[in-house]
Each structure stands twice: as C-alpha cells, then as structure tokens.
Amino acid sequence: MLIELSPIDLSVAALLVLLLGSLSALMKLGITRQLYIAAARTTVQLLLIGLVLKTLFASTSLAFILLISMMMISVAGWEILSRQKRKLKVGWGLGVSTGSLFISSFLITLLCLLTVIQADPWYSPQYAIPLLGMLLGNTMTGIALGMDRLIQSAWQQRPVIEQRLMLGQSADEAVSDLRREAMRAGMIPIINSMAAAGLVSLPGMMTGQILAGAAPVEAVKYQILIMFMISSGTGLGVISVLWLISKRLFDERERLCFKRLLKEE
C-alpha cells in the first residue's frame, strides 16, 4: 500500500531546496536562480504530465506518439544548450544537440521497441514513451556535460591549441586531448550508475516494478536492458557532439575560430 504524501510532507523537501538556494546565494555560488526555476519546473511539469499520462498511454495513434517524441527531443536539445556556460549560436547548437539526441535516444529506442520488446502494436505508448524518456533524460546529461567541458577547456586553452597548430599539428590532433577529457566527463554519470547499480543505488523503474508486484527477475532484466541502452546511447551521443564541435572550432584553414561556434559577446 502506498503511503500518501500530504502537502506538508512535500513542503519539508521544498524547505531543503530553499535552504540550499539561500546557502548558495550567501556563498555567492550563483546557482540559486537556476535551482529555483528548475524546482518550480519539476513541480509544474510533473503535475501536468501526471494528469494526462493515462490518456496519453491510451492513445494508439502512431502520428501522435511520434509528435510527442519529437517534442521531447526538442525540449531535451534546448535544455542541453541552456546548460552551456559559453553560449552557442542557437541555430547551429540546436541542430547539433537535437541531432545527436535523435541518434542516441530516438534510434536506439526504436531499435529496442522493434527487436527486443515487440509489444503490440510496437509503438505502444506505455513502453515507447517512458523508454524514450529515460534515454533522453540520461543522454541529455551526458551530452550537456561533455559539450560544456570541451568548449570550456578549448576556450581556456586557446594558447595551447594555437601552439599545437604552430607546431604543425592538424586541427584534429590539436584538440584530441581535450576531446578525450570531455568524453570522460560526459560518460562519468552513466558509468557511475552502472557500477553502483544494486550495490549503492536501486534503479527507480526496477524498484517500482517489484513493489508493484512484478517478478523480480523480470524487473531486473528490464533494468539491465535500460542500462545498456542508456550507456550506448549516451556514448554515441557524446561522441557525435564532440566530433561536430571539434570540427566547428576550426575554419577551413585549420585556424582556431570561436566565432563560428559561439554567439558574439
């Protein structure tokens, strides 16, 4: 039996968020505004989706489900751009972030729905939407981290990159070390979750299924499937984003050229 949460229960947690916000303001850490906006968004968005989820899952129209998927991808792409310390040119940035999410999340979900889950119909929303959502949520984090790391470190190490160019290295060689670091940064969250799964963390979906009465082994198999999909999706997404950005950092004469990538200050 589920223990119901009262508004007072929630406000205890909300108070903690407020506390963190004030602490950050006090210590001038600069995340207060972002934290409050994100907390407000989580509340409103989850409430709204909670209300329509049943109706959404009852839908059997492929076109409608595709539309929802595209919307989810665009929002995730936009969030990736919003997390960047250095602001990218919007059109190009959105193209890259949504494009890589399309490869890393949409295509992998599609593959999984068609070959592994094989529900009837294959696009049954109660499988398709949560699956895509879990993939997007995780790859989005990886991509945002990898991208931010690469652009930030390239910006800070401009003199080193140019020095490497002066030594006759190709553009690709000149950023190879930075790209490796960025790849690591993007993959840390999912490698952490895989390494700690079961020992430190109990994945929410699996726990929920078991509590709701599913056979533990079945729930575990689903969770493993999800973990493998998320890690490969994140990896593919981060690789494609880093590749596109490191190409974009240089002009056709292999000169370091941030104005192709970033908004003019």
């Binding site: 190490q157 003199p159 080193v160 140019e162 020095q163 490497r164 160019l165 002066m166 030594l167 006759g168 290295q169 190709s170 553009a171 060689e173 070390d177 004469r253 292999e254 000169r255």
Partner: protein, 202 residues
Amino acid sequence: MQLLQIKNLQFLHCGPISFQIKPTEIIGLSGASGSGKSRLLRALADLDDHQGEIQLDEMHQQTEIPHLWRKKIALLSAETHWWFDTLSAHFSNVDDPVLLAGLNALGFSVDCLQWDVARLSSGEKQRLGLLRLLQNKPQVLLLDEPTANLDKTNSHLFESFVAKYLSNNQACAVWVSHDAEQLARVATRCYRLEEGVLTHVD
C-alpha cells in the same frame, strides 16, 4: 632554391605588403608595439585571416594543407606554451642527434629533457621552444622577439645557432625584435612596420 614570396599581403589595417626572402637570408622586422608585427607573422603561418599571395617555391599557402604549411613555415611566438607535464613529451623524437646537438649549443644538458615544465623559466622556454619547432625541419622561421627574455651571452648563442640552422638547411627567417643592435647583427636587411606600411630601413 627555396624562395619565400609575399605579394600584396593585407590584414587588419596593414598592407598591401610585398617582399621576398632568399635562402639563408634573415629579414629584420621592427615597429612599435601593436603595429602588427606579430599579426604579420601569424598571417605568414596562416593562423589569422588575411588576403594576398604567399608562396614558398611552387607551394601556395592557400592551396596547401594548412598543417603541412605550418610545418614548413614555422612560427616561434613570443610566449611558448607547454601542455604535457614533462619536457620530453613535447618532442617528437628525443633521440634525434640534431636535437641533442641543439641542446648543447644553446647551453642545456641532455638530461634537461626529463625536467618538469613547471620549472622552466621564460628564457628557457623560448630556447627550448625553438628546438621543438626545428624538429619539423622548417624552411622558414618566423621569430617573434625570440630573445626578449635572454641575457646577452645566451642571445648571442641563440643568434649564431639560428644562422647555422639556416645555412645548413638552406632556410630563411623573419626576425622581429625591438633591439636595433641585434637586428643589425643578424639581419640581411631590415624593415619597419609603421601605420600599416612596411618600409625598408638602411
């Protein structure tokens, strides 16, 4: 016979600038800070946007693969950068006899290659930066105030080392310096960059 030709080079407010350099020649370049000397060198190495024709023999800058061009036309910037922890990691071949001879000629012992880059002084960085650059066997050296942080003895060592490299390899150089005496010593002829115009100095 490797001839570097610069025709109608334009960048920022500078130019059109034309001149040419024959093998073993050193062009001395002076001018006030901010006059565009460093930008001129960067344009020659194709690191900044510019207009004009630059060619080394039959090799045209804008049709050559950029990083191969920069191996031939090598820029030693006023400040060199080092990104690995040890010095040796920055050299493509640490057993190269030419490198070992170079270390010797510029006043280093061979085991300096094991040094941590954090302990290098700016004068050491400039000299080692030259040796690092020479591993590409460039045909043109672009030297941006290369001895700014060196004392008199080491400056002289540096000057004769460069002259020897140029004659051994039939290479040429552009040497930027604020030190008129030094330019008089090393340069075949001297130019001054002022308000975007390059003028010959006697």
